[in-house]
């Protein structure tokens, strides 16, 4: 039976991550960092990935990981969302890791598989940081392998992929590319010649995106047409499903911060939180957060157990949690009044993360459209 609760181990993991983030990642640090040339907190990321082992959770022990599952990774994402933490967890420990894990589990015994295994082990150990070179807006289940990058017979890559999450923090890029014999997955060192990673001025200050341009860049082929499309799909599906947990964490922070503010703030001679018009809005928001927790847990569990219902679980979670995080952040800004509109208050970090997350890995609207086919509610003809 689907387990929608948190295990004791998961709660312990949550407590460690939360304590680390409370200590090392208060909003004022993140705010101070986000306009510098170093938007990622690399020291925090090292502690999280290397010392806490958070990058290895979904990787089996025989592949160099902790042998937990994406359920535990989802708990880490909840906490990272709650802190709007500037770490490349989604790009490295979720998207790139899932793609490599799919190659390792489906290894054909070739050189590429061995290379993928080596990369996976070093990423899981927190020694290296990776990014999956797709636009962050890429949607699972669309079937088409992105043709933006071409690989020639010598294995060099040409083409540009826009809006790639966590690319600027990566020291190795996992690149879907179209070769002469069909789609493949390639690894490119961030230090390679003929490679440009150009950060965009990003809406989300805590997970910036970058354009990645390959101009005859040397690459190592990890997998070909037999494995690459499935590995990419699994990465996108897992990413969309686990992002729901990050969105839950964002919404929880926004709700908690808003409730605390409305208890504290007095106008008209009474606490703002005693006005029914505001209480009802927060009660509704709370109810949606409760629903988000159930939906996000179900998606994480379905992905962890390779449940055939996983595509439905992910579409439901992505649709609900994607809308919820934005609504929670918008309510947070509005109910904080003037202070919510200031750069100084961290509410905007959550609003920007929530709005970018709404687009990431498929918008709620696209996920609902995907459900139409998954649960047989066909689109009208004409």
């Amino acid at each position: 039976m689907t387990d929608l609760l948190y295990s004791e181990i998961e709660e312990e993991l949550r407590a460690s991550v939360r304590a680390l983030l409370a200590d090392r990642c208060p909003p004022e640090n993140t705010l101070a960092r986000c306009e510098t040339g170093e938007p990622y907190d690399r020291a925090l990321w090292q502690t999280l990935a290397r010392d806490l082992g958070a990058a290895s959770l979904a990787v089996p022990e025989e592949a160099g990981g902790a042998g937990a599952s994406v359920r535990e990774a989802a708990v880490v994402l909840e906490e990272l969302g709650r802190a709007a933490a500037p770490t490349p967890y989604l790009g490295s420990a979720v998207l790139a890791t899932t793609a490599l894990l799919a190659l390792v589990e489906d290894a054909d015994g070739g050189d590429g598989g061995a290379e993928a295994a080596k990369l996976l082990a070093s990423i899981a150990a927190g020694e290296r940081t990776a990014a999956l070179v797709v636009p962050l807006s890429a949607m699972p289940g669309t079937g088409a392998f992105p043709p933006a990058v071409r690989a020639d017979s010598a294995g060099t890559l040409t083409g540009t992929v826009t809006s790639v999450a966590d690319a600027a923090a990566a020291d190795v890029l996992i690149v879907p590319a179209e070769g002469r014999d069909g789609p493949g997955l390639y690894a490119v060192e961030a230090t390679a010649a003929a490679l440009a990673v150009v950060p965009r001025t990003s809406l989300d200050l805590t997970r910036p995106v970058a354009d990645v341009a390959f101009t005859g860049t040397a690459a190592r082929r990890l997998a070909g047409a037999e494995q690459a499309p499935a590995a990419l799909e699994r990465a996108l599906l897992t990413g969309a499903g686990l992002l729901a947990s990050e969105q839950l964490g964002i919404a929880e922070w926004c709700l908690t911060a808003t409730v605390a503010y409305l208890k504290d703030r007095r106008q008209f001679g009474r606490q703002l939180g005693s006005f029914q018009a505001l209480k009802h809005r927060l009660a509704d928001l709370w109810l949606e957060v409760v629903g988000a927790r159930a939906a996000a847990r179900y998606a994480a569990d379905a992905l962890a157990t390779a449940d055939p219902d996983a595509p439905v679980a992910v579409a439901v979670a992505a649709s609900h949690c994607g809308e919820l995080a934005v609504r929670a952040a918008e309510e947070c800004v509005q109910l904080h009044g003037g202070i919510g509109m200031t750069w100084e208050h961290p509410a905007h970090l959550y609003l920007k993360r929530a709005k970018a997350d709404q687009i990431a890995l498929g918008t709620p609207d696209r996920h609902r459209a995907a459900l139409a086919a998954l649960v047989d509610l066909p689109v009208p003809v004409g």
Binding site: T2, D3, L4, L5, V259, L262, K263, R270, Q271, G273, S274, F275, Q276, L278, K279, H280, L282, A283, D284, W286, L287, V290, G291, A292, R293, A294, A295, R297, Y298, A315, V316, S319, H320, R368, A369, L371, A372, V375, D376, L377, P378, V379, P380, V381
Partner: protein
């Protein structure tokens, strides 16, 4: 053999006792009522109740063990839908506050369904503000004489007994002057009139109480303590809603989705968007309920239950409204406006128009959605209560 009155916690022991009941009272040849009485006396009615009152002091979760054995044997049930108020609200209150004599008298026929119960709580002037109620009960010797008017009373026309709250002291603030009684619905001073709803039928009643005599022996809890006693009743009402596991597409979404699948000619793009949103909402609510159930089973009940009814009401209203609109011209017709007196209510029964109208009640009955939002805001989120001017005033001085 453990001593009598020891809690039974072993599922195998419950199975053994259930099989013994079935062996002694073969359902194939036993009158259903005789079987139900024997089941009650064997402590297998509601196993979490005490020994001697239909239970075995067992964990509540073990009821499923007994029910499965009995269902497999084709044993008759007690038709709980006919006596929801009795089973869900009166019984836990009697158990908590009743005297031994009251438990002995009332619980067994309540559980078997021989005696149906109703609830005389709401009044025309006391809905969400229930504590403002004005029905008076005046002590006369060994009895109380009750005068007043109650409303929204389902099952009053079938009921043998009612749980009743009435004002016994108008000189103290409203929450403190209320007393809780068991009222005999066959008393000549009780008049039940059907209250017709927007669906055309009359599930509910108005109940007029004129000089009704309630023996003091039918008081539940102390005089003036009725509000506290009523909290047990109302908390159980909320527990009763949304407790069991639901398959995907249960309830209103199943109806709307079925119409969508069967009638391609009715489909439009705008309704498709709303249907998909509703499907997601229904699935999220289902998962929320399932998670709540898992928390209860694990012994960690959360506050999430308070929100389930709110979510359920909103979805039922959205999806039933969507279905009528989807039906287009057919949505212009209604199946039947005849005044009916249904014994049980099926929110997903009849046709789309009925479901749409009946769903309007989902956000009103059993605590309006507005009151539930207050409860969530104050008890779950810890937000302060609205300032209240009536809290400490004697009831008789309140503006009405």
């Amino acid at each position: 053999m453990p001593p009598a009155n020891t809690p039974v916690t072993d599922p195998d022991e419950l199975r053994r006792r259930t099989q013994a009941l079935l062996a002694e009272h073969d359902p194939a040849v036993t009158e259903p009522l005789d079987f139900l009485r024997a089941r009650y006396d064997a402590g297998l009615a509601w196993v979490h109740f005490p020994h001697g009152h239909g239970g075995l002091d067992a964990p509540r979760a073990l009821q499923a063990v007994v029910d499965a054995e009995l269902a497999a044997a084709g044993a008759p049930g007690n038709d709980p839908g006919r006596n929801g108020i009795g089973l869900g609200m009166a019984a836990p209150t009697i158990l908590r506050y009743g005297t031994e004599e009251q438990k002995e008298r009332f619980l067994r026929p309540l559980w078997t369904g021989e005696e149906v119960w109703c609830q005389l709580f709401s009044e025309p002037g006391a809905g969400s503000d229930l504590a403002a109620l004005a029905t008076r009960a005046v002590r006369e010797g060994d009895s109380w004489v009750v005068d007043g008017q109650k409303v929204w009373t389902s099952s009053a026309h079938n009921a043998r007994w009612a749980i009743l709250i009435a004002r016994t002291d108008p000189d103290v603030p409203k929450h403190r002057g209320i007393t809780y009684f068991v009222c005999d619905m066959t008393d000549p001073g009780v008049e039940v009139r059907p209250l017709r709803q927007i669906t055309g039928e009359a599930e509910f009643n108005e109940v007029f109480l004129t000089g009704v005599r309630v023996p003091d022996a039918h008081r539940l809890g102390g005089a003036g303590e009725g509000w506290k006693v009523a909290q047990t009743t109302l908390n159980n009402e909320r527990v009763a809603i949304g407790g069991q596991r639901m398959p995907r597409e249960s309830g209103m979404i199943g109806k709307a989705a079925a119409t969508w699948r069967e009638r391609p000619e009715l489909r439009t793009h705008g309704l498709h968007q709303r249907l998909l949103s509703g499907w997601v909402g229904a699935e999220v609510a289902r998962l929320t309920g399932e998670r709540l159930r898992q928390q209860l089973t694990a012994g960690h009940p959360g506050p999430e239950g308070a929100g389930m009814k709110l979510a359920f009401a909103r979805l039922a209203q959205e999806l039933s409204g969507l279905e009528v609109e989807l039906l287009g011209e057919e949505g212009l017709s209604y199946d039947d406006w005849t005044l009916r007196r249904p014994e049980t209510v099926d929110f997903t029964g009849r046709e789309a128009g009925y479901r749409y109208l009946r769903a309007k009640g989902n956000s009103i009955e059993g605590g309006t959605s507005e009151v539930l939002r207050n409860i969530i805001a104050e008890r779950v989120l810890g937000l302060p209560a609205e300032p209240r001017t009536d809290k400490d005033l004697p009831w008789k001085e309140l503006a009405r």
